[in-house]
Symmetry: C2
Subunit: 476 residues, 2 copies
């Protein structure tokens, strides 16, 4: 289990799948493109889910659950939507031993089934806004899959909101991409660039798509969350109107937004190293692991009574800890195992430590190891976890800044993309230009960042003057 | 929204669907047999889920997630399992625009996909026990569906455990049916009979099935949770062996256990009345609803400052409360609405109450209404909620006891079943006898209760002497 992983420098992609499997986050299943999320990986997802869920509720949203099976005809009602999703559908043709009159698709996303219900529930501006989120599984038939990053079935949340005005729906879409930014930065310790997608890259059926984009350890970009202003597109497709305050009938305005189990992949590739995972304290299933070390029963008894004092105190401080009591493996094996699993702090407690009242503390993020008194450990552990959280974020932020290069021409883009990194550039090209660049360099425009400095420059591709700067990178 | 529901006495079944819809728990969807769980119903399910999840974790279980799509051939590996589930399968034949080489079924339950993974993970007794639970959606193609009670897609949890001995696996199955009993009684305020299913009624693929059975308001039984000892059936079907402590290769022993969104139906039919839902305080999304009453801005200001004091204090006591600030509906409408939604306590606060420092408190379960001082309300509210919880349980227990009749012959059974209730009887009949009785009376043997008094009597159907007593009833 704790054998080493392929070094990042040798094969980043192999390193990634090694870590996923050796840290027991997920496993391949017998079903093509579908993975099994193992208990340790699921515990991580639970922390992600519970944190986000609280943030959604704090911003006024409620949860609900809509059917997973959607009549095929529903998808077709929104022209761009079906064009985007038709190639990825899984189709149920038989139920209860009989051929169905109309095939049902497994939801690739739930706009259509949800807006068919909103038609029942919305009559007047008094029924608005509707701020509903759903935690669910979805299926998109993917050709090339990769554990957590792109799987045929995945877990996600999808918010679907209905509003009485364009302004309010747009504000909602902005608010939620900012909730994702806040979550990525404060919990995942992952700096992100927030911006708008180009027309080529937006969600099928959206007016505008916003995303958060993060830089992974191999300097590729990972789109980690999206929020869409859908305008009246789905309201028109499902004929959802409301009586506005002036007694006029108007189509409802919409947003939708989602993040998925892909975030687990983002965590792995943001922080991991050749020893395995490095988890940010705010999301780690265990923040502290304690490895008791002893040779005999007398040693065990002394060590365990010391360890119990520590764990009681950790429990009181609401620190998530685990005492590794396995007697079938050696302490050294345990050290490697918990390093692979990315636990922020490891405590080693042996008979000599008990005598001196000390513990040996090892930090996963920077490898520091030191001996300190039990009491001083206990009085500083919460602050230490907070400071690790912040340092991890700063480290990723510096990494991204160091590897984000301003470019002025196409050759410079090719150079940046060739050696890895984000390219920042003035951009005034067309959708076709964008496709051309992607074909030639494998890089795409990740987003048009919300934060623009307002300066004017020449588009690196067309040479036209523009104030718009974009981020280009190879992406997962 | 708050128009009355059909009285129970007129049409219990219509009463049920009226309550589900008018309390906004769920709605019919455009997909045959599938429902939409609305925010209020989902909040109830979240409380059920979170409570059970904590109980599972406290008993050593961890969560994971397995693929929803299962190769059709997997189901066929366990003969009884496929016989039981084949008629209910939804089948995916196309993915990504192509006909699949092998059809995939949507999980009706996950034994097969999970045991195919356990084969990968289990080698030695050191890998055991595996105590894994999954929260998921499942699909069973049902002919007659009913909101919450029987829907084509439903949400549930399914525990799947692997053990090194029969004894341990049987103990796990017993332990988990007891966790369900504890949950039903202490959280749902719903007394249950715990027992073993007959051979006719057991899970397809199990050696033994245990269930909890509750009496609904119309005196029918509702099977509310099941736990199965699966023996080595699935280990043999998926060739899952382990090296035991004697270095011998042995098939692994298994249990599985589950409850579903059906529990929401059980809550409704256990406690509801002609005014709507009555929710037990331990699971109610809101335990207290506050309706401020005022005529003008001055009144509003005084009332709201008083209400804010109350809500701050409730928040400190971790009471789940809601202040109904809607200005589009009258206080009377709000009273009916929250009665329909089953909130245990309603607080009315008007300008005169503020002057006297009083509140008007109405209990949903027994309709009591009284005026008391704010401080006395706040100091007793937690205790009051606990006592409501207990009284609700006692009321249902008395109801069940009053309507459980000992019968000695078949005529007496017909009489009990005809007027409604549980029949308790000595039983020594065959599976065919059981089928015959069910055809003639619509009643089935709900379970062979674990609690038996050891007395001997004559089987009501065969006349043979036996010490085994069973519970018979019409069931949902």
């Amino acid at each position: 289990m704790s054998k080493g992983v392929t070094p990042q420098s040798k094969d980043y992609s192999k390193w990634y799948t090694d870590v996923v499997q050796k840290a027991e986050l997920a496993d391949y299943s017998p079903v093509k493109g579908c993975m099994v999320i193992r208990p340790y990986g699921y515990a991580l997802w639970e922390n992600i889910r519970n944190t986000l869920d609280a943030m959604f509720k704090a911003t006024g949203h409620v949860n609900a659950y809509f059917p997973m099976l959607i009549p095929e005809s529903f998808l077709k009602r929104e022209a761009e939507h079906v064009e985007g999703f038709a190639p990825e559908l899984a189709v149920v043709t038989h139920g209860g031993g009989k051929l169905l009159e109309e095939p049902l698709v497994i939801r690739p996303t739930s706009e259509t089934i949800i807006w068919s219900m909103y038609k029942k529930w919305i009559n007047s501006y008094r029924d608005l806004p509707l701020l509903i989120n759903q935690w669910a599984n979805v299926v998109r038939w993917e050709m090339r899959t990769r554990l957590f990053l792109r799987t045929t079935e995945f877990l996600w949340q999808e918010g679907h909101t209905a509003h009485a005005s364009e302004k309010e729906a747009r504000e909602e879409a902005y608010k939620m991409i900012d909730v994702y930014r806040e979550f990525a930065e404060s919990y995942m310790a992952m700096p992100v660039i927030v911006g708008k997608k180009t027309e080529n890259e937006k969600f099928a059926g959206a007016v505008e798509t916003y995303s958060i984009e993060a830089m992974m350890g191999d300097m590729r970009a990972l789109q980690s969350g999206t929020s869409h202003y859908l305008g009246q597109n789905f309201a028109k497709a499902f004929d959802v109107t409301f009586q506005n305050e002036n007694n006029e009938l108007e189509y409802v305005y919409a947003s939708s937004w989602g993040v998925s189990t892909r975030l687990v992949g983002a965590l792995i590739m943001s922080h991991g190293d050749d020893k395995g995972l490095i988890l940010p304290p705010h999301l780690a299933p265990y923040q502290v692991v304690i490895v008791p070390i002893y040779r005999d029963a007398a040693g065990r008894s002394a060590v365990m009574s010391f360890v119990n004092q520590i764990s009681e105190s950790l429990a009181k401080s609401a620190v998530r800890y685990h005492v590794d009591l396995r007697d079938t493996v050696s302490p050294g094996f345990k050290f490697n195992d918990w390093e692979m699993k990315g636990v922020p702090l490891r405590l080693e407690v042996g008979p000599r430590d008990v005598e001196t009242g000390n513990v040996v503390l090892a930090r996963r993020d920077n490898g520091e190891k030191k001996s300190l008194s039990k009491d001083s450990f206990l009085s500083t552990v919460t602050a230490l976890l907070e400071s690790i959280q912040k340092e991890m974020f700063q480290k990723r932020k510096s990494f991204r800044e160091q590897n984000t290069i301003d470019i002025r021409d196409y050759e410079a883009l090719k150079e940046v993309i060739g050696k890895g990194g984000f390219a920042r550039a003035y951009w005034d090209g067309s959708g076709d230009d964008e496709k051309q660049i992607q074909e030639e360099t494998k890089a795409s425009i990740r987003c048009i960042p919300f934060e623009q400095d307002g300066t004017e420059g020449e588009c690196f591709y067309t040479g036209r003057k523009t104030k718009k700067r974009v981020i280009l990178a190879k992406a997962y």
